[in-house]
């Protein structure tokens, strides 16, 4: 392991030689990847590159076939989903997954609850009201806090789920295509939100929308066929011939 860089930027996440195969098909193929603490990283790549699968591994949904995943020095491949969540990884899914029959307030309370075992949840006293109010403010849902979340617009659902992830107060936020289906205005506001969250969180954003990537990106990683294609600033990556090739080749919008 690399040590003793004088300006100690600790790595919060280290992935080595990660392979995930589904019936022989390698969705991830020998991926090496790491994140510094406090970093905001954008991962792009054509459809099917393995971006979502990467998040599945990081949240315990999928067990890797091979490889090693360390988060804050702990091996994630041995932990269950809820243990990983409690350890400090929060995820926003590609298609919003909120609790449709609960209202935004209840959705947030559920995520905010600091003690997630059965009996503390049942008998514990907690006052989360102020925190919920503040979060509702952040995600612009104050006026819709008491309608079933299933009735929110697509963009609002995306926001609510981002709010739920923030509520978990994770050290690492994983955001999978969180501006999909948002209006331009909503997208821009989301960008601002992510920028402000980046001040005290490590964030991994998976994105398709290049305008959005330009807005938030500091460092971009390109995945292709389950492996790392290249890494660098937005401009570097955009002009990299391999990236252009991959994106044109797959006929997909970046």
């Amino acid at each position: 392991m690399l040590t003793a860089a004088p300006i100690a930027t600790r790595q919060i996440l280290q992935i080595q030689d990660l392979t995930v195969s589904f019936d022989g098909f390698k969705a991830l193929n020998g991926l090496n990847f790491s994140l510094d603490e406090g970093e905001l990283r954008v991962v792009i790549g054509p459809n099917g590159a393995g971006k979502t699968t990467l998040l599945d591994v990081l949240t315990g949904k999928v067990r890797p076939t091979k490889g090693c995943v360390l988060f804050k020095g702990k091996d994630l491949t041995k932990l269950k989903e809820h243990q990983i969540s409690v350890l400090g990884i929060g995820r926003k899914f590609q298609t919003p997954r909120i609790y449709q029959n609960l209202n935004p307030r209840e959705n947030l309370e559920l995520s905010l609850n600091p003690h997630k075992e059965v009996f503390p949840t049942l008998f514990g006293r907690r006052d989360l009201r102020d925190k919920v109010d503040a979060l509702l403010e952040t995600i612009h849902l104050v006026h819709k806090d008491r309608i079933p979340a299933g009735l929110l617009s697509h963009g609002e659902k995306q926001w609510l789920e981002i709010g739920m992830v923030i509520a978990q107060d994770p050290d690492l936020l994983l955001l999978d295509e969180c501006v999909a289906g948002m209006t331009d205005k909503e997208t821009e506001a989301t960008g601002e939100l992510i920028q402000s969250l980046a001040k005290n969180h490590t964030i991994l954003v998976i994105e398709h929308d290049m305008v959005f990537v330009r807005q938030i990106a500091r460092k971009v990683t390109v995945l292709h066929q389950g492996a790392l294609l290249c890494e660098g600033s937005f401009e570097e990556v955009k002009n990299d011939p391999r990236v252009i090739e991959v994106y044109l080749g797959s006929h997909k919008r970046g």
Binding site: G60, H82, Y99, L110, S111, R146
Partner: protein
């Protein structure tokens, strides 16, 4: 899984569309008031107006509504459709049934044992001489069985249809086992001919009334317990598990404990219901563990409305009254009627009677408001 259940919020949560803008505290007070009113009605008014026969039926059906409350807790709120509640119901029934059968002078054992040449009470029945032990066993044994079964099933992430099938298979196993045990529990015939409890004749009018009142109190207790579990954060998590269990894991919760706990509670309630039912019908047999009976229980809840706890109680009482009325006059059509009822509910009233009343009520309320506003406008003009 992404289906939005219509107004499927747990009881007592204000939604603005409801119009009645009471604070949560006042809503709770209102609910407590209504509950008290219903209790008083059941205890003081019904006995005066119903015949002894109907009152006895009402008592039985109220006992059944306790199982229904448990089913609503695990199915309506948590999404676990158990087709095996009859097992827990029967376990409670057998526990009390044996205690009643053991109301004998020293040294004598229930008569049926002698039919099979058993001369000494099997050891595991001995503690059932004690009422305190029996009272605890009635809910604890079903709850423990459910915990063990639930833990094995839930931990292995078996849910949905597979959970239902497994609970049904359990029912079949228990049914066959109990039917085959003549020497221990009188097999197919079950336990019957009870006469005394606390040295009192259980068939006297006073005792019957006391049992009726006790049943009502247990329904109230069961309601309050389920209400407590389904409101607040714990209840929200149950709903979240029902709607998207994998997501709950990513929110940091392990659903296993939550599901096992409510499954055990529902089983405990089923046990209590079984005991109270046995007390009022005078018999407990393996029939209580038959597959159709467990399915019927689910139908009660579906008819009443799994969107609410009240719905479970109403469904159990109404469906059973319909059953007794219909089968008094036309015994052969009841089964068709029941099947039709279930189809009707599934297709026309997916949220049951209470769900229907709620949505209709809300619409009527809105119409009423509009009408009032218009009236105010015209009177101003």
């Amino acid at each position: 899984m992404k289906v939005l259940h219509s107004p499927h919020t747990p009881d007592g949560i204000t939604t603005p569309a409801q119009g009645l803008d009471l604070s949560p505290r006042n809503k709770l007070l209102l609910e407590a008031g209504v509950l008290m009113g219903v209790l008083l009605l059941l205890i003081f008014v019904f006995p005066a107006v119903l015949s002894g026969f109907r009152l006895n039926l009402l008592g039985r059906f109220l006992a059944l509504s306790i199982v229904a409350l448990g089913i609503d807790l695990i199915w309506g709120y948590t999404g676990m459709l158990s087709l095996g509640q009859g097992v827990f119901f029967a376990l409670g029934g057998y526990a009390l049934g044996m205690h009643l059968s053991l109301q004998l002078p020293d040294g004598r054992i229930p008569e049926f044992f002698s039919l099979y040449g058993v001369t000494e009470l099997p050891w595991f029945w001995r503690p059932f001489y004690s009422f305190s032990f029996t009272a605890i066993a009635i809910f604890l044994i079903p709850a423990l069985v459910a915990s063990a079964l639930g833990y094995l099933v839930v931990r292995n992430r078996i849910r949905g249809v597979y959970f239902s099938i497994l609970t049904q298979a359990t029912t079949i196993i228990f049914f066959n086992f109990f039917n085959g045990q003549q020497r221990l529990i009188n097999g197919t015939n079950g336990l019957t001919s009870f006469t005394t409890l606390f040295d009192l004749n259980i068939n006297s009018a006073e005792m019957r009334f006391a049992i009726y009142v006790a049943t009502i109190l247990f329904v109230a207790l069961a309601y309050v317990l389920c209400r407590y579990l389904t409101s607040g954060l714990f209840g929200r998590i149950l709903v979240a598990i029902r709607d998207d269990e994998p997501r709950v894991r990513f929110s940091g919760y392990d659903p296993t404990g939550f599901k096992v706990l409510v499954f055990a509670v529902a089983a405990g309630l089923a046990g209590i219901a079984g005991a109270l039912f046995t007390l009022q019908t005078g018999i407990i047999s393996p029939n209580a563990m038959s597959v159709p009976f467990s399915i019927e229980m689910v139908i009660w809840v579906a008819v009443g409305g799994r969107s609410s706890l009240i719905g479970a109680v109403i469904g159990a009482v109404l469906v059973n009254f319909a059953k007794s009325l219909l089968s008094e006059s036309f015994p052969e059509i009841w089964l068709f009627f029941q099947g039709g009822l279930f189809l009707l509910v599934v297709m026309v009233l997916p949220d049951g009677l209470v769900g229907w009343v709620r949505t209709q009520g809300r619409q009527l309320w809105i119409i009423f408001q509009l009408w009032r506003r218009r009236l105010a406008k015209t009177s101003l003009a």
